[in-house]
Amino acid sequence: MNMYSAEPLTDKEPGTGTHPLRLLLWLMMISSAMIFAAYTSAYIVRREEGNWLEFALPASLLTNSIVILLSSATVQWAYFAARKDNLKNVKLGLLLTIALGLVFLVGQYNVWGELVRNKIHFGGVDANPSGSFLYVLMGVHAFHLLAGLIFLLKVLRKAFNYQVHSRQMLSIGNVTIFWHFLGGLWLYLYLFLLLNH
């Protein structure tokens, strides 16, 4: 904890003390995590009560998981590039991450289409909570991912304005943490669904 806040805070870099914006990010990630903790525990409680439609998870969820893992690697690559002041690679890494994020979202959307074709509906007469929960988990995660994409775009714009480099690591550090969080969250959800669907 930082005892002497009279020091200039904007100059602080990740690891040398927590910048307020970094802390705000962590706190918001904790509250997001609570949403998914609530959903997954509700999922387990509901499943225990029976009348639970068992169905095979669409195989393309695995592809999507690999895509989002790759995007975590590219954002980390952009972060390392920023530390070495390699601005070209920063932009490239961020652009790749955004592209992979979009691929992931489209992939998730296609999974929904596949689910509908397999008669697993979100709501309506033949819907079962087991399917509805899948839609909710994927949808709320996708909503968070949209926020992450907007954040990436903001940092990309900063990178084009020469505001991301080894002495201004805060924004790219934050977006890297947040993107890893989104990837980790999806991985958790995917493993959770594999084990509990």
Binding site: M3, A6, P20, L27, M28, S32, A42, E49, F122
Partner: protein
């Protein structure tokens, strides 16, 4: 305080060192150079002090409305046989042939609970005082993110507007209770209020949760990151500790309510079956199969229980501060006070199912929750003991704030004792859904938190507006409110033990309850009188803003940092450097000291006559 001048040059670690230019400071200096427009200064302000006042004024508006609603349903409960034709200019079609519409009665109860719990005692209390006091008491220029702080208020404002509009729609506002249990809240066929009114309720609460989260992350970050030099966590005033832990509770529990609300929205509008199952209503079987209404209760009370501590903990912190200041004594057991706040915070997350003893849960599980619930009596008793020990042989000054703080302790004890009764599953099953429960939580959470709110307003009014509130009107307000609260809620315990059920529109159909007609009428009269007593406060508040006696810089001779700021602090709080902190916040009546208080920013080198042996090393 002239005494803090010499310390200011030490703040930045040496004379001649320029003030550090954080992004924030630059912003502040920028502000000094141009006149802020009215909009920037009073409406879309990022100054935590202005935002605090916005929360306070909005909270007052909601409190008046919440009180009005309770007066309306107390009229019905006190005089169930009477006609209320005279209310029809006010309530319109909700008065049918002179009688209050029974479904509107449920709407009144629902909106009273929602408004009081969320809009007044969460946003109005925590939003006001966390915003106002955190930067001023820890020595920060503003919140970590002034912009997010402003957004927090405006989310609350929009949420308020939506909730307010829902009062006037044709099908009436939400009517399923403030706990909005499905299936009642999910099916418009069940009650008209579950139509558009419930939709607006859910939208409003989603915005409210966003507001709470934006505010909460700011409070936590500010306390962790922006404390002034020397202000270690063990030198924080108890107010800050309580706001800090309150914000953490909100951060962890409000997202869960959001999850539950989202699932309920899907059930209501998208045909899912998370909470609905096997329902036959209005001559028609619904398609929903396999949902679990008890699941909703689990999700709701996972927020709902921490929520009652979100309501009460800020009041506890402010009362601790005001009791110590006005008893002219250090708070008794400072570390025990922090420890008990931590204990209450932790326990608040593992007791939620004590609201659900009658949902058919496994009795073993019930016993676990009962055990954990009863443990909360321990930190609560520690706090109560410490408050009483702080008063013991103190040099007490009975200011209006002090009276309300002592009143808080009284109400907290009275309401807490019945908590031990209700925490026992065996007794709760008997008492469930009676007026005993209503009496319990209105004393321990509702009235206590209100008393904390009043104490806070009377105490920090001089810092907020640079003027004093009238003490005599404060006394009148206190005694009428204090007596009123007890006259309302003590009889309710009796009625409740006798089995009188809550949420009933009229009890005249049941012979066994007709003997309580006089007691119910008594409660209603007391409640309405106590409500009218609040207008004394309102007059005092608004009159004093403009015409009150001008305040001095430190009117209560208090030790905390906010009183070292100018009487009218600008955006940035201290015109020069921020004072550094050398000592804990409760150096009252220290033996050997020149005065009976030593502010936190006075170094030990200036108080040699009163330093204790271990403090000499820090001179």
């Amino acid at each position: 305080m002239a005494a803090n001048l010499p310390t200011q040059s030490q703040v930045q670690g040496g004379i001649g060192v320029t003030e550090p230019h954080t992004e924030h400071d630059e912003h502040l200096h920028h502000d000094e150079h141009h006149e802020q427009s009215f909009l920037e200064k009073y409406v879309f302000s990022t100054d935590h002090k202005v935002i605090a006042k916005q929360f306070l004024i909005t909270g007052i508006f909601w409190a008046i409305l919440g009180g009005t609603l309770s007066s309306l349903f107390r009229l019905q409960l006190g005089w169930p046989e009477s006609t209320f034709e005279w209310l029809s200019p006010f309530l319109g079609k909700w008065i049918e042939a002179g009688k209050l519409n029974p479904e509107f009665y449920l709407a009144l109860v629902t909106m009273h609970g929602t408004i009081m719990v969320f809009f007044v005692l969460t946003a109005g209390l925590s939003g006001t005082f966390s915003n106002f006091l955190i930067p001023l008491q820890i020595g920060a220029r503003d919140m970590a993110s002034g912009f997010m702080n402003m957004l927090s208020y405006w989310f609350f404002f929009v949420s308020s507007v939506i909730m307010f509009i829902s009062l006037f729609i044709e099908t009436g506002p939400a009517s399923a209770g403030w706990t909005i249990y499905p299936p009642l809240s999910a099916l418009p066929q069940a009650i008209p209020g579950s139509g558009l009114g419930q939709t607006l309720w859910l939208v409003s609460m989603a915005l409210f949760i966003a507001s709470q989260l934006l505010g909460g992350v700011n409070y936590i970050t500010t306390v962790i990151n922006l404390r002034t030099r020397g202000m270690s966590m063990s030198k924080l005033p108890l107010t800050i500790w309580s706001f800090f832990l309150t914000a953490i509770l909100g951060l962890l529990s409000f997202p869960v309510l959001l999850s539950a609300a989202l699932l309920l929205i899907f059930d209501r509008s998208f045909g899912t079956s998370f909470f609905l199952s096997d329902i036959y209503i209005a001559g028609q079987a619904l398609h929903n199969v396999g949902g679990s209404p008890v699941l909703f209760q689990h999700l709701f009370w996972f927020l709902g229980h921490p929520e009652v501590y979100i309501v009460i903990m800020p009041a506890m912190g402010m009362v601790s501060e005001i009791l110590a200041t006005n008893a002219r004594k250090p708070i008794f057991g400072y570390r025990a006070m922090i420890g008990s706040l931590l204990g209450i915070s932790l326990l608040s997350f593992v007791v939620w199912a004590h609201h659900m003893f009658v949902t058919g849960m496994n009795p073993f599980l019930g016993s676990v929750f009962m055990f954990l619930t009863l443990i909360i009596a321990v930190p609560s008793a520690v706090k109560t003991f410490n408050w009483l020990a702080t008063l013991w042989r103190g040099n007490i000054r009975f200011t209006a704030a002090m009276l309300f703080s002592i009143g808080f302790v009284s109400l907290f004890i009275s309401g807490g004792l019945t908590g031990i009764v209700l925490g026992n599953a065996a007794l709760d099953i008997q008492m469930h859904n009676t007026y005993f429960v209503v009496a319990h939580f209105h004393l321990v959470m509702g009235s206590s938190a209100f008393f904390g709110l009043f104490a806070g307003v009377y105490h920090w009014f001089p810092k907020m507006f640079g003027r004093m509130m009238d003490e005599k009107l404060g006394y009148v307000h206190f005694w009428l409110t204090f007596l009123g609260v007890y006259l309302v809620f003590l009889p309710m315990h009796y009625v409740g033990i006798a089995g009188f059920p809550r949420r009933y529109y009229a009890w005249t159909g049941f012979d066994m309850f007709s003997q309580f007609a006089d007691l119910n009428r008594f409660i209603s009269i007391a409640a309405i009188l106590a409500f009218f007593a609040q207008f004394i406060f309102l007059f005092n508040f608004f009159y004093s803003i403009f015409r009150g006696r001008r305040a001095t810089q430190n009117p209560w001779n208090s030790t905390t940092l906010e009183w070292t700021a100018p009487i009218h602090p600008g955006h940035g709080n201290w015109p020069g450097a921020i004072p550094a902190v050398y000592r804990w916040p409760y150096d009252y009546s220290k033996p050997g000291a020149a005065e009976d208080f030593i502010p936190q920013n006075i170094p030990y080198s200036q108080t040699q006559s009163s330093n204790l042996p271990y403090e000499r090393e820090m001179e």
